[in-house]
């Protein structure tokens, strides 16, 4: 084992990126914009463009494919996602959606796939591509898919149903997760493929601002060359690890938003002649929120550290997502509870965090580090 120093401190590069994103989120997202996007059921494109302009998404892609050629760092991605999600979870998913497609192909695709697809999306302008992992059924497990890909000569025939496919309509390509003869894999499917039907926009519990669609694949033919990684497929387990870590980073961000809002509210809200925060019943909830947000972040960083060291993060990513899922539910619930009746009203963001946060345990493959 090569020893790097053990430590909890952000590097200069990490903290300057964090500050830049936090500043942008504070000025453009938190408050009315996030509320409006949720009410309008629509993300504001100018915000997505602004985030894209930061370049964080494509910075780690080699220059030959249109990126800036910086070293790949899942830690930078995890920090980035938490900051975005602290502003708005729907936005965090939408703004980084191309990276899930890009990084998967960059790290697991064949040379031909990289040459063909990366330049399409590593562009100065944000262009949508997406990932289809979730399936609309009881007992869904991302590790055992029911969507099937059967090899037929130089083609794969894909059959199955997907749901919660973010921004499918606007996407040029979809990365579809399917079971290829017992091995879970990813296939690049072009939007417009006659075997691919994108249904009516879904109505969901949370993430009102994020367009998600059901997708049906009926005898959908894709060239064998579009199986990510070629004939032998890709390391789907690793793909899941990275998306799980991303979801825990997002959960940390959503929980933090709820914590910070509730904390400030509790200091201002006066009942019985003093701020409610000066009562232990409320103060102890706030204390718990404070250390659990930190714990979620550290769990995320722990799993990310394994990836950063080039190691498998199977156990760490599983535990991080499990923890973030449970804790996001608990903390976003606390957020609503501390605001009481006001927390139930859509004018305050805590109800949105509560709805969105439910997604952490349920949604798979919507973001990556």
């Amino acid at each position: 084992m090569e020893d790097k120093d053990f430590g909890f401190g952000l590097s200069e590069e990490q903290s300057s990126m964090k500050d830049t994103v936090a500043k942008l989120i504070k000025s453009m997202v938190i408050g009315n914009p996030a509320h409006d996007m949720d009410e309008e059921r629509k993300l504001h494109r100018d915000i997505i463009d602004k985030i894209w302009e930061l370049g964080a998404t494509v910075s780690m892609v080699p220059e030959e494919y249109g990126g800036y050629g910086m070293d790949y760092s899942p830690m930078m991605n995890a920090i980035f996602l938490e900051e975005l999600a602290a502003g708005d979870m729907a936005l965090a998913i939408a703004a980084t959606l191309p990276s899930t497609f890009i990084y998967t192909i960059l790290q697991m695709g064949t040379d031909e796939q990289k040459k063909k697809y990366l330049p399409l999306y590593c562009d100065p302008a944000y262009k949508t591509c997406t990932v289809a992992v979730n399936e609309p059924r009881f007992g869904f497990d991302a590790a055992t898919l029911e969507t099937k890909a059967a090899k037929n000569g130089e083609k794969y025939i894909i059959n199955g149903k997907k749901c919660f496919v973010p921004m499918a309509k606007d996407s040029g390509h979809l990365l579809v997760a399917a079971n290829a003869d017992g091995k879970m894999d990813l296939f690049i499917v072009e939007n417009g493929n006659p075997g691919l039907q994108i249904g009516e926009r879904e109505k969901n519990l949370g993430l009102y601002a994020l367009e998600t669609y059901p997708v049906t694949l009926e005898n959908c033919e894709v060239p064998a060359d579009d199986r990510v990684g070629g004939d032998n497929g890709c390391d789907y387990g690793r793909f899941l690890q990275k998306t799980r870590i991303a979801m825990s980073a997002i959960g940390t961000g959503v929980s933090r938003a709820s914590y910070e809002y509730a904390r400030e509210y509790a200091k201002e809200r006066v009942q019985f002649g003093e701020p409610i925060a000066s009562r232990q019943a409320i103060a102890f909830m706030i204390a718990e929120m404070a250390y659990e947000v930190d714990a979620m972040r550290l769990m995320t960083w722990k799993a990310t550290s394994a990836l950063e060291a080039g190691r498998e993060a199977k156990r760490e990513s599983y535990l991080a997502k499990l923890y973030a899922g449970e804790m996001t539910m608990k903390l976003t619930d606390y957020g609503v509870q501390i605001l009481g009746g006001h927390g139930f009203i859509r004018e305050n963001p805590v109800e949105r965090y509560y709805r969105n946060g439910r997604g952490i345990t349920i949604l798979e493959g919507m973001a990556t580090v």
Partner: protein
């Protein structure tokens, strides 16, 4: 930069201590649980190890500067929390009984003058703060210290003193001026055998029975004037008391790591039984498709990981000379509470194996509870965290 991958150095410390815990502590854990107040003579071999030493001699009044760990070097505090976790995986009660490693030793190492270090540095020192009427509110203690010529005269009663019988000296907290409140509280070193100083009784406890907990009574107990730790001057501020409280920023991560060790012991045993029953814990299935037992187990494992990361962060900050009052309390709040919940849950999952004294699981459930109580209860930790994040004083948030 952020890197939470365990280094080879950390692994070496961990596995060395684990061998010791497996070979020396586990085998005698049950015996000393059943023979409360019997001194674990096997621990004598630790007497020569200087656990509470201090890096360099210092003059009175000079602050000890924590040495910043250089690259590739494991910080002293991070190293210590790893050591404690492993030893408590062996047995918490025995760890608390380690000779010359009492809280009193920590206090002496932190503030003693060279001359005091010479006199008391080699002696096992207990720490006596709590009184029948003063627990968490340690600013309200009533034990008195009165200066009479060249001697301090101590009067009062101290309870819940760890290593009360085994220690050779006791660090006693007493007030030199009740009207000065916290500013009047000082600590004094009293040697065993001093007339007027008596071990009144030993307690019978829920857990950590290997550790002797007792009551001291001080009745016109006279000690030399220079047995006071720190300055005798009563300042108009509470700086001195705050300084004493700051010691807790250092010891709280250690208590949190005690919870880590006991909790991991319980989880390891439970995992072993789950796997013996044919269930494979492979971190693969969607948590929604797991059995209740598997999901409980994974969740407990995740909580343990969270406890550990919060604890290691607080220790790492100390090693880097960062103020960690908030993070130390976060670590202890989480670890004490969840350690207790997890050890209870393990007994539940183990069923009859968890209720029988044939196994150690029931003992771990009793032992771990103390980590949510001593060095500040879980509630006190929540108060400290809440005051910190809200920016409230102790008057604004009582």
């Amino acid at each position: 930069m952020i890197n939470l991958e365990i280094t080879q150095k950390m692994m070496d410390v961990k596995s060395g201590m684990n061998n010791m815990a497996t070979g020396m502590l586990r085998p005698i854990a049950r015996h000393y649980d059943e023979h409360e107040h019997e001194y674990p003579k096997e621990l004598d071999m630790f007497r020569s190890i200087k656990i509470m030493s201090r890096p360099k001699k210092k003059k009175a009044g000079e602050e000890a500067k924590p040495e910043k760990p250089s690259a590739k070097k494991l910080g002293a505090n991070l190293s210590m929390v790893i050591v404690i976790e492993e030893m408590c995986w062996g047995d918490l009660g025995l760890l608390l009984s380690l000779p010359n490693a009492g809280l009193g030793n920590a206090a002496i190492a932190a503030v003693a003058t060279d001359e005091q270090m010479e006199r008391f540095g080699e002696k096992w020192a207990s720490m006596a703060i709590t009184e029948p009427g003063s627990g968490s509110d340690s600013g309200s203690i009533t034990a008195r210290a009165t200066l009479d010529g060249n001697e301090w005269v101590l009067d009062g009663e101290k309870i819940f003193v760890t290593c009360a019988e085994r220690a050779e000296v006791a660090v006693i907290w007493a007030t030199v001026d009740r009207s000065a409140g916290k500013a009047g509280i000082k600590s004094f070193v009293v040697e065993k055998g001093t007339p007027g100083f008596k071990l009144e009784k030993l307690e019978h406890k829920l857990g950590v029975r290997a550790s002797d907990t007792g009551t001291y009574v001080l009745d016109e107990c006279r000690i030399p004037k220079d047995n006071i730790l720190g300055s005798a001057e009563v300042k108009q501020s509470t700086e001195g008391f705050k300084g004493a409280m700051k010691t807790f920023d250092n010891t709280r991560p250690l208590v949190a790591s005690m919870a880590l060790g006991v909790t991991r012991a319980a989880l390891d045993f439970t995992r072993e039984k789950i796997e013996e029953s044919g269930v494979k814990l492979d971190y693969e299935k969607n948590p929604n498709n797991l059995s209740a037992m598997e999901k409980e187990f994974y969740l407990m494992e995740a909580h343990l990981e969270a406890m550990r990361l919060l604890t290691w962060r607080a220790a790492w900050m100390m090693d880097n000379g960062e103020f960690n009052n908030l993070e130390a309390s976060m670590a202890k709040a989480k670890a004490g509470r969840y350690g207790t919940l997890i050890c209870q849950k393990c007994c539940e999952l183990l069923g009859p194996l968890g209720f029988s004294c044939e196994n150690l699981a029931e003992k771990w459930m009793r032992d771990v509870k103390i980590t949510d109580i001593f060095e500040g209860t879980g509630q006190i930790q929540h108060l400290i965290v809440a005051r910190n994040v809200l920016g409230y004083s102790s008057k604004q948030l009582k």
